[in-house]
């Protein structure tokens, strides 16, 4: 299995380089990856359905629980069928869809192949964290594919929206997965399902995971990214946004439901969100004029349906859900690809402009109608089989009771109605417009569509073909002894479900026929509902975010150095000062001075320092600061450091010289100082800093108990260091490394001065360019 993933990756990296030579035929090369996968899965199907899943395990980061564990079980097999089976056909379709001169073809082919691999990894992953890895990879590839037409602002916005929404969900889900793994003590998916943990943390974890599933599968209120994503080329819509990627959330729910559907908030949450999504999607689909957007909202609706079925947590619902999963993958990608052909041959997909295509493109019309009928739930198609099973599962006291059933019924009515609207919109001859001119598509272009559409019919007529697959998944639920699941069938006899199915179709047809009054009603309702428009909410939250970012940045990033320095020093006051005030005290053991002369010098130095701040002339200020320096040198002498004093004295002198060099060119007086109030603020900060440091010295000094580490320097300097001036021995021997660093500083400072003030007579204006 790892080899198959590697094949995807290798081809994804290779095809961009092959594209310039092969043109659109590069997709035939890329199709090798999903085709090989589908072929491989077919050979393993027997084992998997007999309860012997294929597994492989490779270590990655054992310390973090990240393992490359892969596992092909019935649900995985079902998903691989969609991901790689449908995928192969979409790749073949691409070869006809794109023209040779298409910009960015290689890039597109590479990313699409990469997506195919990521999606495969997602459904095969048997490690929660590995699943997340592939999950996000599908988000990223989807982002790049939606933004394929990057010169259109609409594409770019749609790409960003899809990325942000799905990644937000993904990150929330990651937290849930981590919690789940933490509670279970393992990140192994099959391990957790075999022995599911319980407890309040698990409930929280599940809610977080579900948020991820909801965003990925475009559930209300996260759904708007999916219709927007229709900005992508049609093969992407068919593959990512109908058959494969959007199923990831549903897949995850299907994966976890057998073990966790019974945990408290799962069922109400999944059922509510799923039903709401089904109804909102169906409702919105009914009023679209763009065929792709119609299908997109239809997908939203169907994803809600799937969410209800697969999340309900009963084997019967799961059976129906798995069947619908398959059916939807087939009919929805057929419909998208059909729209792609229409768009390609006529240049439009607006149903108000299309007319008479049924006659011009009969094969396509037939296949698409077949798929639409399957979507509507008309026998003898697979969609019908699935819906029958769903009604069956909820009619007889399924979770949620009558309310859920009513919701499903209503949603199915809407589905039937927009299915009719699609067929009518795409193919009917409308009196209001002229017949749309269309090119005849090449057989190779339509062939994948036909295969996909026909398979829905075949599986509907022979439900036994799909039955073992969905049964095997449903078997992952514990079943009471003696109870057996019904098999999929076209004809169960005259059951209540059949009656409801008939009613659904009739009501759907009615809704379609009354489309004018419905449309008016919708327009009125949408005006009322615009306040709760989720797409607007997305824009508003981005605006809010931008505003928050702008405001906070305006505050912290004022661009003013004094403000920055003030912040730094205030932080010191708050943190260090806080600790000093809160946790220490100055007690006893203080003396006014070591030598009285210290006090005299200190007063002079302090006075000079204060005078520095008040000086109006630059030169005065510099001389005063020099006086402070010399005073400090005297204090050094008094403290017992003649070397130090000598150095300080010389350095101070040289610094003065430097100041003079620079000041010679500057005006003699400081500019007028700023308003009194801001000076007061400065004085306040200054006082606080001074107080904190002074207190710090006293407090820290009192904490000393042990003699200093330098106590034996005096004894060792002469015999071991070869000198009697201990400070010098420290500098060149004990701590010679410091000195080495220090002269390095001098060297570099000198070099810096040389670059800033070149000795040659070059003015800075000349050399700044």
């Amino acid at each position: 299995m790892l080899a198959l993933l590697a094949l995807h990756l290798g081809l994804a990296l290779a095809v961009p380089f092959a594209a310039p030579r092969l043109g659109p035929r590069v997709f035939l090369l890329a199709a090798a990856a999903p085709a090989a996968t589908a072929g491989w899965a077919a050979t393993r199907a027997g084992d998997v359905l007999d309860g012997r899943p294929v597994t492989s395990s490779t270590a990655w980061v054992p310390g973090l629980g990240l393992t490359l564990d892969l596992r092909l079980d019935p649900l995985g097999l079902l998903m691989v069928t969609l991901v790689s089976g449908v995928g192969t056909l979409v790749f073949l379709y691409c070869a006809g869809y794109f023209s040779a001169g298409q910009r960015g073809l290689g890039r597109f082919a590479g990313v699409l192949t990469g997506f195919s691999g990521a999606m495969l990894g997602l459904v095969l992953a048997d490690d929660l964290l590995l699943l997340y890895v592939f999950w996000e990879l599908t988000s990223v590839t989807s982002w790049l594919l939606i933004g394929f037409d990057d010169e259109s602002p609409q594409s770019r916005r749609a790409a960003q929206q899809a990325l942000l929404v799905t990644t937000l969900g993904g990150l929330v889900m990651l937290l849930g997965l981590l919690l789940l793994a933490q509670e279970a003590g393992t990140a192994s998916l099959s391990g957790i399902l075999a022995d599911p943990p319980r407890g309040p943390t698990v409930a929280i974890a599940l809610v977080l995971v579900l948020v991820g599933a909801f965003t990925k599968s475009a559930q209300v209120p996260f759904h708007p990214w999916l219709p927007a994503a229709m900005a992508a080329p049609t093969p992407v819509s068919a593959y990512l946004h109908a058959a494969a990627m959007v199923k990831a959330g549903v897949y995850l729910v299907a994966r976890l439901a057998p073990a966790f559907a019974v945990v408290a908030p799962w069922r109400p949450l999944v059922l509510t969100v799923g039903l709401a999504t089904m109804l909102v999607g169906g409702w919105r689909a009914l009023r679209q004029s763009d065929l792709k957007r119609l299908l997109a909202f239809g997908t939203v609706s169907q994803l809600g349906f799937l969410m209800v079925l697969l999340g309900a947590g009963t084997p019967e619902a799961a059976l129906a859900g798995a069947t619908l999963l398959l059916a939807h993958g087939l009919f929805k990608s057929t419909l998208f690809l059909a729209v792609g052909v229409i768009d390609h041959e006529t240049g439009t997909r607006d149903l108000r402009e299309l007319s008479g295509l049924g006659r011009r493109l009969p094969v396509l019309a037939a296949v698409a109608t077949l798929a639409a009928l399957s979507m509507a739930g008309v026998p003898p198609l697979l969609g019908f089989v699935a819906k029958e099973a769903a009604y069956e599962a909820f009619l007889h006291g399924g979770p949620g009771g009558a309310v859920v059933f009513a919701g499903l019924f209503l949603g199915s009515v809407l589905t039937a109605a927009y299915s009719a609207r699609f067929v009518w919109g795409a193919f009917a001859s409308k009196p209001s417009c002229v017949a749309t001119p269309a090119h005849t598509p090449s057989p190779g272009f339509v062939a994948p569509v036909v295969v996909l559409g026909a398979s829905g019919l075949v599986l509907g007529l022979l439900p036994g073909l799909a039955d073992p697959l969905v049964q095997a998944y449903a078997a992952s639920y514990p079943l009471e002894a003696g109870r057996e699941l019904e098999h999929l069938a076209l004809w169960h006899g005259l059951t209540a479900a059949l009656g409801w199915s008939a009613l659904t179709l009739a009501a759907g047809a009615g809704l379609f026929l009354l489309r004018e009054p419905v449309r008016r009603g919708q327009r009125g309702a949408s005006r009322v509902l615009s306040a709760v428009d989720a797409d607007r909410a997305y824009d508003l939250s981005l605006s809010w975010l931008d505003r928050a970012a702008q405001r906070s940045t305006a505050v912290v990033q004022s661009g003013s150095l004094p403000v920055y320095l003030g912040t730094v020093l205030l932080t010191l006051v708050v943190l260090t000062g806080g600790a000093l005030v809160g946790g220490t005290s100055i007690s006893g053991d203080l003396q006014l001075w070591d030598r009285p002369l210290q006090a005299v010098v200190a007063v002079v130095v302090a006075a000079a320092a204060v005078a520095t701040a008040r000086a109006h002339r630059r030169f005065t200020a510099v001389l005063l600061v020099g006086a402070v320096g010399y005073g400090v040198a005297v204090l050094f002498v008094l403290q017992g450091g003649p070397d130090l004093a000598l150095t300080q004295f010389l350095v101070e002198t040289l610094t003065l010289v430097l100041f003079v060099f620079v000041l010679r060119r500057l005006p003699s007086s400081f500019p007028r100082s700023t308003p009194r109030r801001s000076q007061l603020v400065r004085a306040g900060v200054a006082t606080a800093v001074g107080a904190v440091v002074a207190a710090g010295v006293l407090v820290a000094g009192q904490a000393r108990t042990a003699p200093p580490a330098s106590q034996d320097y005096l004894d060792r300097a002469l015999p071991e260091g070869g000198g009697s001036n201990v400070v010098n021995v420290v500098l060149v021997d004990f701590r010679g490394f410091d000195t080495l660093g220090e002269i390095t500083v001098l060297v570099v400072a000198a070099l810096g001065i040389a670059t800033l003030v070149p000795a040659g007579r070059r003015r800075p204006q000349e050399q700044s360019r």
Partner: protein, 149 residues
């Protein structure tokens, strides 16, 4: 400053002569401090700074050209050489199986002078001295020269 001094040539000559005399004295004193530093107050820094002050004095009177004449080398040279000397002194200890910067006394048996003792602290401190002198010279050449205009 300089301009006014130049305007009065007689004063400048007196001053210049005086400074020339002092200049070498101070310079030698700086070198003395370098050598004495290990046992008395002084050392590479102090010595270098004193020598630097000698150059500043000289500069104050003769300006940039005067400094150029007194020290006809690129100030970058003592900077690099000083750092290299200090670093190499430190690394030389490796050759003698010691730790980096480990001080050693070398006893050289020279033909004429006989046995000469030297501690490795001296070349190290000489490196420091050179760097400090180089810095002062460079500042005089750049900031000093620029401010002269």
């Amino acid at each position: 400053m300089t301009t006014s001094e130049r305007a009065d040539p007689s004063r400048s000559v007196v001053l210049e002569t005086a400074v020339r005399l002092v200049f070498h004295t101070v310079l030698v004193f700086g070198v003395y401090l370098l050598f004495a530093g290990h046992n008395q107050p002084g050392g590479g820094f102090v010595g270098g700074l004193v020598a630097g002050c000698a150059f500043v004095l000289r500069y104050a009177v003769t300006g940039r050209e005067g400094i150029g004449r007194a020290v006809p080398v690129d100030p970058v040279l003592p900077l690099g050489a000083g750092l290299l000397l200090a670093g190499v002194t430190g690394a030389a200890a490796w050759l003698l199986d010691g730790q980096f910067l480990e001080s050693g006394k070398v006893e050289l048996d020279l033909p004429v002078l006989g046995v000469v003792k030297a501690t490795s602290a001296l070349p190290f401190d000489t490196g420091v001295f050179l760097v400090v002198v180089g810095l002062v010279l460079l500042v005089l050449r750049t900031l000093g020269a620029e401010a002269e205009q």
